[in-house]
């Protein structure tokens, strides 16, 4: 099959809800994608750096998830072009977020309730038992 380059005029953009499908706008978009890539790369380095700062466990999880959420938002907003997407897509996503939250809340709630109950009846102490650390394996 030979390469066939259609001229920009031959491509109709029926889904052009952003109103920015001129060649100039698409070239500007391509530059934006490269900037987002650079930001995502920096945030990835930050994620690794923060994990080596020996922060308190809860804070380390919080910061790690916060950076991951920022990265995910950038991918969704710019690469998946959610910024200019139709209302129906947001409706689908909103329903998904509700069910996803229920899915995560279930086990969290269960663990919290179980720990509260155990404390009340004195089955477990509030401190984790001392156990030998897992042996690091060579990579």
């Amino acid at each position: 099959m030979s390469d066939h380059a259609a001229s920009p005029e031959t491509l109709e953009h029926h889904d052009d809800h952003s109103g920015h499908n001129s060649p100039e706008a698409i070239h500007a978009e391509k530059r934006k994608y490269l900037i987002i890539f650079f930001v995502l790369a920096v945030l990835t380095v930050m994620t690794v750096a923060v994990s080596r700062m020996h922060l308190p466990h809860a804070m380390a999880i919080g910061v790690g998830l916060l950076i991951a959420t920022v990265k995910a938002s950038l991918v969704a907003a710019f690469f998946m072009h959610l910024l200019t997407e139709r209302k129906l897509v947001f409706t689908v996503l909103a329903i998904t977020v509700v069910f996803f939250a229920v899915l995560l809340w279930g086990p969290w709630h269960h663990v919290y309730e179980a720990e509260e109950h155990s404390r009340e009846v004195g089955v477990i102490s509030t401190e984790k038992p001392q156990q030998p650390a897992a042996q690091p394996a060579p990579h």
Partner: protein, 198 residues
């Protein structure tokens, strides 16, 4: 007489989206629930365990970091492919699709090296709950990467014939495959810190 599938290019008047795009978003919603169930299970197992190893003590963080860069790069190359196709530049659109496919191969090769090292140290899914979740989540994610690679290979190879007759429809196919690929990237963005770093 060939039956034409409606709304492959033009948006449906009631949804404002072409059918493929609405379809992929509904599929991605189901994927969120699939991976959500696994993340939820991880929360339950990890918070209930008296002791849970830190990922960075057991797993290979440099390799996983490299894989993160590879996957992020592939997300950029697939949107560059889509942008070039919208400009009518099939040649560069196809080249960027090829680079995306190579990134997928790179990711899986790095993952295979990682798995191979773990197996050689007798660290299998049945070793403990940590490795059970590690293999389950990264394995399912890897299968998604392979699925995306198969579609990209089709779009670069036999599926590319469509460009001559229906360039808009071909461009839309690349767009919705890209949406799936970005979702695979999103899942890894959360898997990386949760499994490897925290």
């Amino acid at each position: 007489m060939e039956l034409e599938i409606p709304y492959t290019v033009r948006p449906r008047p009631d949804t404002g989206l072409y059918n493929g795009k609405l379809g992929i978003w509904l599929f991605l919603a189901s994927e969120v629930m699939l991976f959500g169930a696994l993340f939820s299970s991880l929360v339950l197992l990890r918070s209930s365990a008296p002791d849970w190893p830190k990922g960075s003590d057991i797993l290979n963080v440099p390799l996983a970091t490299l894989n993160t860069f590879v996957l992020i790069a592939s997300s950029v190359t697939v949107v560059l492919a889509w942008a070039n196709l919208r400009l009518g530049d099939f040649k560069w659109g196809r080249i960027w699709l090829g680079v995306t496919l190579m990134c997928g191969f790179g990711f899986m090769i790095i993952k295979a090296i990682e798995y191979g090292t773990k197996f050689s140290h007798q660290q299998f899914p049945g070793t403990n709950n940590f490795f059970a979740t590690y293999y389950m989540m990264t394995g399912l994610h890897g299968l998604h990467v392979i699925g995306g690679m198969i579609v990209f290979a089709y779009l670069i190879g036999p599926g590319a014939k469509m460009w001559k007759e229906k360039p808009n429809q071909y461009t839309n196919r690349v767009e919705i495959t890209g949406l799936y690929w970005h979702f695979v990237d999103l899942v890894w963005i959360f898997l990386f810190p949760i499994l490897y770093l925290l």
